[in-house]
């Protein structure tokens, strides 16, 4: 068992961290208040090789595993959770799913573009009538003259306003198939970005497919195999969300530590007050545990071990930990933590979304329990 990354990976993370702290963190508040997709941040991170980090060498990537990926998304999210969510969703849920399941032709078309950061991906999984129950999909894909015609509406699609490709599960006959749709295809329409509670930069919106015709090669995996692949894609997405949540927890620690060390109350630094110090200790300890579980989950997934329940467990732990920790951070900062657009208030809202997105805590507990009872 090893708890360390290699020297090259450490070096890469240091580089990403520097860019994030110096260039990305200062703009986090503006991205949130403006409901603004962080395009510039994504370009900047692409120039540092973030989007290429987990893609195989033959497609222009650096070939790192998921463990490095969750570390990197955590670092980005510590500076700006919206940016972490946007870029992570594309890297994990789209990039890794395409790399694992798409045909060689599709991979050659898409992966180098994802690696360069010239396009980003959006997962269009949920529908109005079915949140996490994909089998219930109302969206259909009809095969016609060597093409598929997609019809239906997906909701809460992260990255959709800016995306180049959209991953769409749709009914083909009685079963589900998965498609990778170029967002410029005629018939693809994106709605206005939602005004969400948090993670506002990772703009979610509706995507409508209206007689959208896509070539056959856009099928990911075999026809009718969509459920299996989506479960894989959801594993990747949940790893990403866990990493974002850990970044939020890390940021909650940073602001609490900084504030308590520098601010005085009754003539003494806040950090010398036991309730404050212990509260920050709890942030630190629980973040530490959530991180270890997330790293372990990523490692298991990259070893192709049966990891769905461990990933659900780490997503559950990381997201609920982030909610508790941002709550604690506000208690440390007091009045300074409840003002609109201050970091504590923003992180508090961002954290809540990690609990809900990618399958909520109830669903995660169900997955964990099912696996326990199955053994």
């Amino acid at each position: 068992m090893d708890f360390k990354l290699n020297a090259q990976q450490e070096e890469f993370l240091k580089k990403i961290k520097k860019v994030c702290m110096e260039e990305i963190a200062p703009g986090a508040s503006e991205i949130d208040s403006g409901n603004k997709f962080p395009s510039e941040n994504l370009s900047r991170l692409a120039s540092e090789g973030l989007q290429a980090s987990m893609i195989a060498g033959e497609f222009g990537g650096a070939g790192n595993d998921l463990a490095l990926g969750v570390h990197a998304i955590e670092v980005v999210s510590r500076a700006c959770p919206s940016t972490g969510m946007a870029v992570g969703t594309s890297m994990f849920c789209i990039g890794k799913t395409i790399e694992t399941h798409a045909t060689a032709e599709l991979k050659k078309d898409i992966l180098p573009e994802l690696a360069k950061g010239s396009i980003i991906g959006a997962p269009a999984v949920s529908e109005k009538e079915s949140g996490s129950d994909i089998s219930y999909a109302g969206t259909t894909a009809e095969k016609k003259n060597g093409a598929y015609i997609i019809n239906g509406t997906k909701i809460c699609v992260i990255n959709a306003t800016e995306s180049g490709i959209i991953l769409v599960p749709a009914k083909t006959g009685d079963s589900i198939s998965l498609f990778c749709v170029d967002s410029k295809t005629p018939g693809v329409k994106t709605g206005d970005p939602y005004k969400t509670l948090g993670l506002r930069g990772a703009c979610a919106c509706d995507v409508i497919f209206d007689n959208c015709e896509i070539p056959e090669k856009c099928l990911v995996g075999a026809e009718g195999e969509g459920m299996k692949i989506i479960n894989d894609a959801l594993d990747f997405l949940r790893l990403c969300i866990a990493a974002v949540a850990n970044g939020i927890s890390g940021a909650a620690f940073d602001i609490s530590k900084d504030f308590s060390e520098n601010e005085q109350a009754f003539g003494k630094p806040l950090a010398t007050r036991q309730p404050i110090a212990f509260r920050i200790t709890d942030i630190f300890v629980e973040t530490d545990i959530a991180r270890m579980l997330t790293y372990q989950a990523a490692w298991k997934k990259s070893q192709n071990m049966n990891s769905a329940s461990f990933i659900a467990l780490s997503k559950l732990c990381a997201s609920e930990t982030a909610v508790r920790n941002t709550n604690r951070a506000i208690n440390v900062l007091g009045g300074a933590g409840i003002v609109q657009n201050c970091a504590a208030e923003r992180l508090y809202r961002d954290a809540k979304l990690t609990e809900v997105l990618g399958g909520d805590s109830d669903l995660m507990r169900g997955i964990v329990a099912e696996d326990l009872l199955d053994e």
Partner: protein, 364 residues
């Protein structure tokens, strides 16, 4: 077998001897003293397996006091003569060992220790008492911490090897505990107790440094390893019970309210396990793990309370009955947030390591 001793609240000598046969007493020690030469992580895995198999926490606690708290300082800081004389006997289980730091009026606050050791010729004369000492009533040898120079603070504290046969040594009455009932506990009393000078461990004044740097890190990993096995056992029992117990025409594991409890337990078990393996792995790599050991101790013990609470809840009325192991786990696990530094002490240690308050500005 353990259940019977559990009911009688008695040390289980047959199980103890069985552990010795399997080489458990010598797990972390070098082969030249009869040990197995296992690393910290391997020792942890051994203890975990033992507890996961349902071995009583009392037994593993006695092992911890014997092999870790008594054995480790003799091995790492003792002289070759001390190792030959005492460590070999601990490993073979010919003798039972223990460790005396806590006093009636001094827990984790080592500065308020009252037991003194005064050098007289080739002997140290010990006076005072030690409280809550695991293996007290049955131990043959104890590592005892005493003040040799009360003006030198932490550097005025020394460690001694004290045999129960030394003149002036006696044992108080056996203490009646909430849990860990197969492990015996008592006060140790020193009345002009004569300890040969060669039984000093290391140098005079090294007692506290020794406790801090060697024993406690081991304690917060290896001793906790049995803890992870116990909470895993509580989870396993709960999974099994929820599948067997039927209510409203279905096994209770079909109810989400039960499933979600199981999931929460699993999450806490896995988080604790990661914290434990990391701290043990770091110790094996020679990386200082004071922070990680405290995190592990704090998180695992507090998780243990939640896990065992859920385990009893899932078992319902049966969980409240002595014949179900989760009832025992519920009581045993409470020691976790108290022994080897309470949760509050752990939070204090961690907060000092992670926070660096700026000095107050003048006039503010």
């Amino acid at each position: 077998m353990m259940e019977e001793y559990e009911k009688k609240s008695e040390f289980c000598r047959p199980a103890w001897n069985k552990l010795a046969e399997f080489g458990i007493m010598g797990l972390p020690f070098p082969e030249e003293y009869g040990g197995a030469g296992a690393g910290v992580l391997t020792t942890c895995l051994g203890m975990e397996a033992l507890a996961e198999g349902g071995a009583s926490e009392g037994l593993t606690l006695s092992w911890g006091a014997h092999s870790i708290l008594c054995g480790i300082p003799i091995w790492l800081l003792g002289t070759e003569e001390q190792r030959q004389k005492y460590l070999t006997k601990l490993i073979s289980a010919e003798w039972i060992g223990g460790f005396g730091l806590t006093e009636p009026n001094a827990g984790s606050d080592a500065a308020s220790l009252k037991t003194t050791a005064v050098k007289k010729g080739d002997k140290y004369i010990l006076n005072g008492s030690k409280m809550f000492i695991t293996n007290g009533p049955i131990g043959n040898v104890f590592v005892v911490i005493a003040v040799t120079n009360k003006d030198a603070g932490h550097f005025g504290i020394s460690a001694f090897i004290v045999e129960s046969e030394f003149p002036g040594f006696s044992v108080g009455k056996e203490l009646d505990k909430m849990g860990h009932r197969t492990s015996t506990t008592s006060e140790l009393i020193f009345e002009d107790c004569e300890v040969p000078a060669e039984n000093l461990i290391g140098q005079e004044g090294m007692g506290f440094v020794m406790v801090g740097k060697t024993t406690l890190e081991w304690e917060r990993t290896c001793l906790l390893a049995a803890g992870i096995g116990s909470i895993q056992h509580a989870l396993d029992e709960s999974v099994r019970y929820s599948q067997e117990r039927h209510q409203f025409n279905r096994p209770i594991c079909k109810f989400p309210a039960i499933q979600h409890k199981l999931a929460d337990m699993k999450m806490l078990v896995e988080g604790s396990r990661m914290a434990l393996y990391r701290a043990a792995w770091m110790k094996d790599q020679g990386i200082p793990a004071m922070l990680e050991a405290s995190i592990c101790k704090l998180f695992m013990s507090e998780s243990g309370l939640k896990i065992c609470d859920n385990a009893v809840q899932i078992h319902g009325g049966y969980g409240y009955m002595r014949e179900y192991p989760v009832e025992r786990h519920y009581r045993d696990t409470k020691l976790g947030t108290i022994g080897a530094g309470t949760s509050e002490v752990q939070r204090q240690i961690i907060s000092k390591m992670i926070l660096n308050p700026k000095k107050a500005k003048g006039g503010k």
